[in-house]
Symmetry: C2
Subunit: 172 residues, 2 copies
């Protein structure tokens, strides 16, 4: 989402991990950089790490391989950036967390709970005419689950965007 | 993390949901607003919704109640903002997703898999000397799990930050 898109023939999805120091304005600097360079950010998460005052950012974006090289060069110039990690989907665990509020009459509730179980989703909260379901997995799995939920009536969706990490089985 | 902090006596954690149109520069505008106003962003996620060209942002931040009012007024002035939702933790489901890479010799592996099961965490990927574990839950649950993992040796952590939604049982 959010930033202007540069079209090119070989565009595909990239995932980048960035370790940053918790300094005022880091997020503004980063998103300003993306906007100026025309990078098309799809999702972004910013969370804590095990190291005090260091945060971990995961960005997924569309672009060619040159786009990614440019991005890395630009990021390396930002003093607050500690480390950049290429989270190539073929060598990384790629996951997403999603909360969805679905319309559910008392009659439909059992149906929905069963479908959720089948997809290893979790009914977190039940209301009179809706329920909140949590699902975790590959982004495509979440897309599929949300498609299934459409016929019941989706009231709200909140997806984290991509969280990713280099696989342990690659020796990283 | 990331933005300058204004200390006040009654500071506590707020969670805000923001629906925005997918226009170039929205994230830059938002984070610029936070930086200028001195809001202290703790975590942020930006994900897709069920509505094309509309993204959902969840921000957790520390501040007094007046801070939140100010924030909402400022956000309402941004044309790309469609809707602002107060995700008060007492009336919302509050969750987080975490990937952690833990050092694990062959000897330790069974131990780690068992501890993970006990905490409903999930060993996603096994390597020669480390494994990637996924855990989902309230942020405090993730804090606790990471404390337990410390003695094995944490190599990497990637947390999404807070994902939240108003409870269905509130009739929302």
């Amino acid at each position: 989402m959010i930033e202007a898109k540069k079209k090119s023939e070989s565009e595909h999805k990239h995932i980048v991990g960035i370790l940053v120091e918790d300094q005022p304005g880091v997020l503004t600097k980063l998103s300003g950089l993306f906007a100026r360079r025309g990078f098309n950010i799809d999702t972004i998460i910013v969370g804590k790490t095990a190291i005090p005052l260091v945060s971990h950012i995961v960005i997924s974006l569309y672009g060619g391989d040159r786009t990614l090289e440019q991005l890395e060069k630009q990021l390396n110039k930002l003093v607050d950036v500690v480390k950049i990690i290429d989270l190539n989907p073929e060598r990384s665990v790629v996951r997403e967390h999603c909360l969805v509020k679905v319309a559910s009459s008392a009659k439909m509730r059992e149906d929905l709970v069963n479908i959720s179980k089948l997809h290893k989703a979790n009914a977190l909260d039940l209301g009179k005419d809706s329920m909140v379901i949590e699902i975790v997995g590959k982004p495509e799995k979440i897309d599929n689950f949300l498609s299934l939920m459409k016929k019941y009536g989706i009231k709200e969706v909140s997806r984290t965007g991509i969280n990713a990490m280099q696989r342990a089985s690659n020796g990283k």
